[in-house]
């Protein structure tokens, strides 16, 4: 009764790009839901905050910059690291600076 078989279920082989597509689609939906809830008061910090998040491309930049794949890759990667780092540091800090200013009625006067 017990048959030894290794029937290849398709999912065993879900191709990585398809999985990434799945992640993309879910993130887009989630992004719309989350951001639609941000009140207009916070739209400027939202923009500078998403500047900072778009600096995530630094992850790819680090891999190139440190890969040791010859000077061209290193130069391009290092430039990318620098630009992305401006976004990350500048974006988060300026957002924090702005948000620190938002107060409710009872917090002041």
């Amino acid at each position: 009764m017990i048959v030894l078989s290794l029937t290849p279920l398709p999912a065993d082989t879900v191709p990585l790009p398809v999985m990434l597509l799945f992640v993309l689609v879910l993130s887009i939906f989630l992004g719309f839901e989350l951001i639609a809830k941000v009140p207009s008061t916070l739209h400027t910090p939202l923009m500078s905050g998403s500047n900072a998040i778009s600096g995530i491309t630094i992850v790819g930049a680090l891999l190139s910059s440190g890969s040791g794949n010859g000077p061209a890759t290193t130069i391009l990667g290092t430039l990318a690291v620098a630009f992305a780092a401006i976004n990350v540091f500048g974006g988060y800090l300026v957002t924090d600076r702005m948000l620190a200013m938002f107060r409710k009625k009872d917090d002041n006067s």
């Binding site: 992640v23 923009m47 992850v59 992305a84 924090d96």
Partner: protein, 465 residues
């Protein structure tokens, strides 16, 4: 569990932190913590990446982070709140160029790529390049380093169509010729051509758009910078880039949409119509009647007697840096027993939420801020509407004049308040270059002069009592 699994689980955690951070941005009370949580996610993503065994040399990484970090910190510390729109514009550009460079570096090592990867690289370069130069132009227009008028020339459409066609053809050759197996000099040349055309496309896309529409462009470019990061994520097959890029992409698109709705125009109209070019501008002063000027002392008597006052700030408050003075005046009015609210139009100023940030800087509590939908229905009960350097967002033509280009745009209907006092320097038009009939209404008084000076004189009248 091996290292790769641990690294990837950390990326999942970083994505969770980004998402949770954005969720907390849903309320002013938790927003600051949300931003901090998001930054911890970024730190986590960077740190685990450094453990990647593909990284063999940390020298240039340290240099890159140090240079970028120092510039970022300095900019963040020194930028004035009124300079936010310019800063966001230029940062979008940096995000775009970083994604372009990541794609380029990945193309470079000389190894073969699958067509799928080449497509991702081409997209990262294309979107990143457009975002970069487009943002620089937007920055220039906002900072008024280049003319904020739409730049239009004959055959523009044809040039643009040719550029789009060129980039499509180049992209197809680069991605699919001989299966992408060899890098080769020819392919590399084509790749560089794509980079160059992307840069030109970015410029061409933004120059025909007037300065007043730059906020929309910036939000759209914000979205693009996210999409570029997404594409870079498909290049290096990394989840966290895809998630974050998608979040940023969604954010920019939603803001774009909100602004277009608030202006009652379609995105296509914003991008392609050359709105605000010389031909549509009206300029100049009172052809519709006579404006009634008022001096601060008289304005003081009106607001001193008012039971309820709303402030309607606009771009002029930012130019005059009048936010602190405005808050002081509001406090004087409150001490005087008057009910004070700030009515904020979604596209007042030069970016979404611009006025909110300025008022927050001046310590105005955010629960004193109301939106047009809240205040318009009860406008008749408002004794005085104090318009501080706003113009287009209080233009009654949007309701009254069907031929006006802004007809149908939701406004703050200050002309329905009992009295309306407008603080600006002249009868000149606002950024949309449209006459404002509000200035000539019976119940409107014009308090000419720099907004900060005018408000300060009103405060002085109160204190002099």
């Amino acid at each position: 569990m091996n290292g790769v699994v641990v690294i990837n689980i950390c990326y999942v955690a970083a994505a969770i932190l980004f998402i949770y951070g954005l969720k907390l941005l849903g309320s002013p009370a938790t927003a600051r913590r949300g931003n901090q949580i998001s930054s911890i996610g970024m730190l986590l993503a960077v740190v685990v990446t450094l453990f990647n065994r593909g990284i063999v040399d940390y020298t240039w990484i340290v240099v890159g982070i140090a240079v970028g970090g120092v510039i970022g910190v300095i900019v963040a510390r020194t930028v004035a709140m009124t300079g936010m729109p310019e800063m966001v514009a230029i940062f979008n550009g940096f995000g775009g160029i970083a994604s372009l460079l990541v794609g380029w570096a990945e193309f470079h090592p000389g190894r073969g790529h699958s067509p799928a990867t080449l497509v991702a690289i081409a997209l990262a370069v294309l979107i990143g390049g457009i975002t970069f130069t487009g943002s620089l132009v937007a920055y220039g227009k906002l900072a008024e380093r280049i003319t904020s008028k739409p730049i239009l020339f004959g055959g523009q459409q044809i040039v643009n169509a040719a550029l789009v066609l060129a980039v499509l053809v180049l992209g197809a050759i680069c991605c699919f010729a001989d299966g992408g197996s060899s890098p080769g000099n020819a392919r590399y040349g084509i790749f560089i051509a794509i980079v160059v055309v992307s840069f030109i496309l970015g410029v061409m896309a933004v120059i025909p758009i007037g300065g007043a529409d730059m906020p929309v462009v910036i939000a759209l470019l914000n979205s693009y910078s996210g999409l570029a990061a997404c594409a870079a994520g498909f290049v290096i097959l990394n989840n966290v880039l895809i998630v974050s890029g998608a979040l940023v992409g969604a954010s920019g698109l939603i803001l774009t949409n909100i602004m277009c709705k608030a202006m009652n125009r379609s995105l296509a109209n914003v991008l392609f119509s050359g709105f605000g070019s010389a031909s549509t501008s009206g300029g100049g002063s009172g052809v519709q009647g006579e404006a009634k000027p008022i001096v601060p002392a008289d304005a003081y008597y009106i607001i001193e007697a008012a039971q309820s006052v709303i402030f309607v700030p606009g771009y002029g408050m930012a130019v005059a840096q009048a936010q602190h003075a405005v808050h002081e005046l509001a406090q004087q009015l409150e001490q005087n027993g008057c009910e004070v609210k700030f009515a904020i139009h979604p596209v007042a100023g030069r970016m979404p939420g611009h006025m909110n940030v300025l008022l927050a800087e001046a310590n105005v509590p955010y629960d004193q801020l109301v939106e047009p939908d809240d205040i318009n229905p009860i406008m008749e009960t408002v004794d005085v509407a104090l318009v501080i350097g706003a113009n287009d967002v209080v233009n009654p033509a949007a309701r009254e004049d069907e031929t006006s280009p802004i007809y149908g745009m939701p406004t703050i209907d200050v002309d329905r308040a009992r009295t309306c006092i407008v603080l600006k320097r002249s009868l000149n038009a606002g950024f949309a270059q449209i006459e404002n009939s509000l200035f000539f209404k019976d119940n409107t008084r014009m308090l000419f002069g720099d907004a900060k000076q005018s408000v300060t004189s009103l405060v002085a009248e109160f204190k002099g009592e």
